[in-house]
Symmetry: D2
């Protein structure tokens, strides 16, 4: 989830209301991070959530993290988040309790929480488009209370949680809640990265780096990373980029032309979300190639069909479906993917205000992803 402007699902209002009424217990308390309007957040006591529907699970958070989207929420950019909402849509935890219809999980199971809630039974879920689930989608830390808390209620637990294999590095798996499936599904799969191909990634932030890491599953010949920040490019190099271009200092279009014999690249992954970077992608893609958009755009962009109409290109957009989570779990377990590289900082969950401060100043702090531990 890297959102500046997000889709409003009015249908969830009911669920939201239901949750407010019934999903929170009268008795027990916990601590959580609450959004109180633009610029205002607070780590404070809240009632511990309860099982609300037979398909719910209650999860005790072990590790969570902060997403770029959470920063947008905190700035007030996501109007569908109401005041008082608990933020956060990533994490791993332990099952405390399950509803009567939950059969895949039981108390004590270690689980990975998906940022996308999937009911498993609407048309979109059946097509693998969990992001558009008619009863879920991105609701955690958005339309219902989220994971930056000691406990979280997870609807449709059977299809929204994943078992963590014994002996796993749980911090590494927090990266599978959102950022890695986002880079992989929206960037790499949609971009049809193939062995021997040439890939350009515009944007070397956490999400671009997630695309870089997972693009290597398919052994492209070249991965060209483009960003205006030398630090981020150095990280990209360390993570496997074969070429880096600082586009504040050199002409990325000319460099890519040189690197590709004037043919352009097979896949361009947009990992920023502004008109200038999308238009750069349009200039980098070669005939027959694909532009896979990951960036969350707040404005329309100019699509140069007067040039591209005859170039046999494909442009894709996607909100992460997390349909590849089982596949990604196997790649982490088999050490094909070292997701832990994305983690730069560690905090106690109770120290979350400081964690936000670090993450917000990512350039200064050289921060990628932070881990918050509920100890």
């Amino acid at each position: 989830m890297t959102t500046t402007s997000v889709p409003v699902k009015t249908k969830q209002t009911g669920l939201l209301a239901g949750e407010t009424k019934n999903g929170i217990g009268p008795g027990e308390k916990m601590k959580a991070l609450l959004y109180f309007g633009p610029g205002k957040k607070s780590w404070e006591e809240k009632p511990k959530p309860l099982i609300n529907e037979p398909t719910d699970a209650l999860v005790k958070i072990l590790k969570t993290t902060i997403c770029g989207t959470d920063l947008h929420i905190m700035k007030g950019d996501v109007p569908t988040v109401s005041v008082g909402r608990i933020i956060g849509h990533e994490g791993v935890g332990i099952i405390e309790e399950v509803g009567t219809a939950v059969s895949n999980f039981k108390k004590g199971d270690h689980v990975l929480i998906s940022c996308i809630t999937s009911c498993g039974k609407c048309d979109y879920c059946k097509r693998g488009m969990y992001s558009h689930c008619e009863n879920g989608g991105w609701i955690l830390g958005h339309l219902i209370d989220g994971t930056q808390a000691e406990y979280v209620r997870i609807p449709y637990a059977d299809t929204s949680l994943y078992h963590i294999p014994a002996g796993s590095d749980e911090e590494a798996l927090v990266m599978l809640s959102d950022i890695l499936p986002t880079g992989f599904e929206c960037g790499v799969l949609n971009g049809k990265v193939q062995p021997g191909n040439t890939v350009a990634i515009v944007g070397s932030g956490p999400i671009g780096l997630a695309a870089l890491l997972t693009a290597q599953f398919y052994s492209p010949a070249e991965i060209i990373m483009i960003d205006p920040d030398d630090n981020r490019l150095a990280t990209a190099k360390k993570f496997g980029a074969t070429q880096i271009i600082n586009n504040s200092k050199e002409n990325a279009i000319e460099r890519v032309k040189q690197l590709t014999n004037n043919k352009g690249v097979d896949t361009v992954i947009e990992a920023v979300g502004i008109p200038a970077t999308f238009e750069l992608c349009e200039s980098l893609v070669g005939p027959g190639g694909t532009i896979a958009n990951i960036g969350v755009h707040g404005k329309s962009v100019e699509l140069h069909l007067e040039k591209l109409w005859s170039h046999n290109i494909t442009i894709t957009t996607r909100l992460v479906d997390t349909v590849t989570t089982p596949m990604l779990l196997k790649t982490v377990q088999s050490k094909k993917l070292d997701s832990k590289q994305l983690i730069t900082h560690h905090f106690k969950l109770s120290d979350i205000i400081n964690a936000y401060d670090t993450f917000q100043n990512a350039a200064r702090e050289k921060a990628l992803k932070v881990i918050l531990s509920n100890e």
Copy 2:
């Protein structure tokens, strides 16, 4: 080919020059339609072309037609067409002579001429992207002399001509030179039309109708045709559209919402080529759907990524590759495709000036495609 602004392939200049020098014989003469600058054309005598390369064939034209692109050329919209060029890139004919390296064809063979010249040996041809052939592509009636003539030289004959089965209706096959593969490849295949799906086609001109005819190969549940002209929509209905919408009279977006339970369509085919119609497509496509562009655009369009970034959509562009010509030939032969429906008028080739007049006034004349016969 339905082109207002076309890609210039400067690499073909050499070929062009070569052809001017060697490809035209000193002795025999023929008649042909020549472009003499914006608004000026003439049916006049020219030297009959000669075999120029061992891979060439010389074809006597039997039937040809006029394309929307030819009208653009005649208006001066295609600056890469030089004065004196013979126009036309469609037709069927008889082989007169072949070069020493041609092995698939011999004198006397009846052949379908593809609008796209494919060398069969560059990287793009090997990938099936004949439109981007490094030695061909769209050159006929553009960078080299074309088919609105009594004879035409066809480079790379083995990979740019197709045998016409005995007993075929040759007029029906003229529709396979360009318009049907264009509608099929750029619209239907790129649009991933599937059984049971809902398809919208924006633009009910010849190219939109070609998409309509070939979309039915895949048995979609609904094909919604959108155009501001009632006559064209009536034709669409006759050709198999299940719904028609006159968007000069009613709100196409609202109608499509009603027809699709507010979900939008699975495939939208853009068959016009202006910003307004492309933006209409953006409003019609549902989550998980595809916009397949066929239209030739002279200007950039506004892509509403602020809305579409999270809708899991695909946008494709394509210059026809004619890679499906063998498949289309089989569908015509087996009567799965009645391509002759597109033909509304007949002329003698020598009467081509009148044929242009009719085709140019398509609305008044209720013209779709005209056939010119070299009798």
Copy 3:
């Protein structure tokens, strides 16, 4: 389901036991067809089933049918069916009651029952392989009581039932419980039928005819039907076969060679299930082609790899997943598929013993599918 030997899912024993204990009410009664060992069946009174799990639905049967598999069960060929089991896995009905976790359906909804039970939350269901569902698969009328009864309990109702649109012909939809998805998924989709291609179908019984009907979604140029029975071939011709071959009278291999210029066909669909017909398929498939097996085989077959190893062919097997049911519903509604053609006889449900007699003597009775109505 066209089964002579079926996969035993011992894991369902628990579910079976559970169902015996709790799924049947003490009070109300209904009539049902029971299997009492090889050759013995009876239409008799049984307790009406009850909701057993929160994900169950109780359905009142409106229409059901008999499958070739049911004949095998009655002969004793399916040892996993216990004595006393209610047979049947197809039908349409009305929801009587739903469990607390069912959200897609409510009392009074008209529903199509899928022959495959899908839990929607195991790994196989997430991959669209409902046939291998770890909690379902083919269990109806096999490991749990089935649809040849006045009422049936449907586990995992949300993902195993489908809404019937108002105004539908419900008899036509009974064909979507099993036979049409089987022909389509196992034969047509696995066989990659494409526009312009040549398809051979070996076996012109109900399942071969279901493949024939649904193959036409993709507009192949030729569909060659092969069977030793002239009546069945006449039906195939009426249903759209372009060529018919009676292989008891003529050499099918030679005829197909003639029809395909010695190239063989692109797709062969095996719809019988014996070694001789499978080996026939091996002789009919051309280089690059596919053999899609639908037939239920009781013995191994000889695979001529000494010839086929270099022919670039594909062989597929599949137990129907019914993952295309939503697509098929749309094709029936939009009249792209006239599934009713498969129905030849009608009986009252209470007259089921006679219906079995007719269906068992299909050749004599010219029977394809029979409809049993619970009036």
Copy 4:
């Protein structure tokens, strides 16, 4: 090419005859390895070949190798090889001369020779099935003279040769003539190897190892190598196998069950070519999985459809098309593939009789592939 029994293309007889008549010069001589019937071969003088068709190239061999198929030829297993034939279908060299219709290559170019000759203009070539080229296919060192010689004539040079980039390691590229595209296309691509999947490869000879190397392009979680030879398994381990099973010592089926939670593997690659190994593959593949056959089979195998009919599996066969050669060249250049690991021995071309001796005793000599240099 790893062939015991090969497809006879009688259509090439003409070409063969043509070549005998015109393709060999009267004057210049060269040295070559000739087949003189079962068990008889000789390194002797032959006329140097000449350009025969305008599409031919004459190549001076720099490096070549010996294939398992060559051993079969020498034993007399390939009856389509006539006495006096020059053997060999792999190698790199320098262009000496090209025919008048060759445009991709010129004298002096360094080239990779494909084991498959592709005309680029028949139906099969257009579909990417070069192995079934109507004018080529596997003819080198089979139906026409091959590469174990100082010079070789290459028909359809434009579509059967590949440029070697300056600075390449040419020995590494000899592995791209046959063995690596064979392992990759027939095993890995047909087997649909995917990130996170489990792959078993039966047979750890050169071809199984080629599959092992190229399977890693797709980052499967596990690659299980099965072979009765510990040495070969040790090599497999070094080349990236995650599990090795000596099936002369342990039960491979049981071990694979343990390793896969009784689910079976996603992809099994058959790289031996005998009934026992193919049947082993049938026992290893899980529901939804694929058996990709590479092995050259001399006999039919038993296909257990009585079990597999309902397992949703796919079986593929393929003669290498070398359609992925451009992709593989990029993976070698970008160091994603270290093809040189397959080379164990070096000889002078003139020492080819000793090279055969070593290669024939692969187990004793621990030989994988040998390089023969024409110095």
